[in-house]
């Protein structure tokens, strides 16, 4: 019985892992790139150059809004950190607070400007 439970649990973890790993691949095969993919530096630079000052302002305001909405869920809104620290804290909070990719990008943009 113990062995059966072990194998059952192993199969469950394997099945779940397979499904989740297969998920994004299927989406990418559909021909629609994920809008919020982590992206390469080159891609990011091209997008940054394309943003107009008006769009910049809109994104900054949206970023501030997301910053207070998400960071304030658990603690007082912290003061700003240096950009290189923000990039690390972003990864940490993305996992810890399960931020969406979009929220994370807007918050990082707001905190590093």
């Amino acid at each position: 019985m113990s062995g059966r439970r072990v194998s059952f649990s192993g199969a469950l973890v394997f099945a779940v892992g397979s499904l989740l790993l297969a998920g994004p691949s299927a989406g990418q095969q559909g021909g629609t790139p994920a809008p919020a993919s982590t992206g390469s530096p080159a891609t990011g630079r091209a997008q940054a150059q394309a943003a107009s000052p008006q769009e910049d302002q809109v994104l900054r305001v949206e970023g501030e809004k997301r910053f207070h909405a998400n960071c304030g869920r658990c603690h007082q809104s912290p003061h700003k950190f240096p950009p290189r620290m923000v990039m690390t804290i972003e990864r940490h909070m993305r996992v810890r607070a399960t931020l969406t990719d979009e929220d994370m990008r807007l918050i990082v943009r707001y905190l590093t400007q």
Partner: protein, 368 residues
Amino acid sequence: MLQVSLNSAIHAQVRCAAALLVFFIAPVVCAQSQDETASSPADVSLPQISPVPIFSAGLAYNTFIQGGTPNLHPLASPVILIPFGENWLIESRDTFEINLAPVPGENGYKGYLQKEVDYLQLDYIASPYFTITVGRFLTPFGVYNERLYPVWIRDLQSDPLILPISTGPSGAGTGAMVRGAFKATPKIEINYATYFSSLSRDTPFDSDRDIGARAGIFLPGPRLEVGGSFQHLLDDQHSNAFGFHFAWQPPPLPLDIRAEYARSQNGSGYWIESAYRLSDLDVLHGDLRRLQLVARIQQYYLGKVLNVNLPQVNTNMFEFGMNYYIRDDFRFVTSYGRQLAPEGGNMNLWTLGVTYRFVLPVGHGDIQ
């Protein structure tokens, strides 16, 4: 009779597995369908800045006076974050604490150092919708254990009575976890976490053998989050546990309202906490803006199986606290609570302390 029992146990596992699979698949399917329809500011690029390793620590010195007996409680909790590559992160948090208590018949206070690895995990951000974590991680049951537990974050320094329910002997699991978040609609975000933990009785890495999941819905507009958690223990009595959590920060007010409910064979209960920062008050030269008022009420009901980490009798408790923020990372904390246990154990709980947190970069990040 034995065969009936075995079949029942297998059927219970199958039902549990089916529920978990549906739970896992739904977010991925929703995320994929979202790919085809979403048009949002997610196109915003990340700045070309290399992340830098971070060393941080939370420090606290609290005095608890419980039933007239003072306990001194110094605590240090270092956090290390090491990012590498584009999507990887190693993170850990340890806790070193001493509970100094008076010894009858002797002078002074005595205690011993307690060490705990809260988490030591490797994260891989596999896609915008999910992250894979292996190692030792905080058990994602409810939100208090993962998000609100650190002494520099929590509004009241005492733990909620129901915290030990389903967070294991140390609040952490050792195994693997998949978690993530995505926008279901422009106004609704879904977050989820699911995990498998193996049995470990080696201090400071002790954990239970279990599987579980948590899912939440977050509405960014009203800043409202609700969610539920489930856990199935794979050892001992193969019991189930479930819980619900709620959090709301009404945007016009500096107010936090949070609540959790948990139920297992060890017991059940809930807590409701409200914290109000007087940042809107412009009296006494604005000094009151730094003050935060906190109140919490909680009830715990004994279960079928006793757990040494939980109260041994039905317990009600209310607490009122005041926190004064010198800075956002440095504050004085104080609270008064009254524990009411009809079967014995009525007592007052006073808390007085200070909490501080610092964050330092380690090395240099390269701006590309």
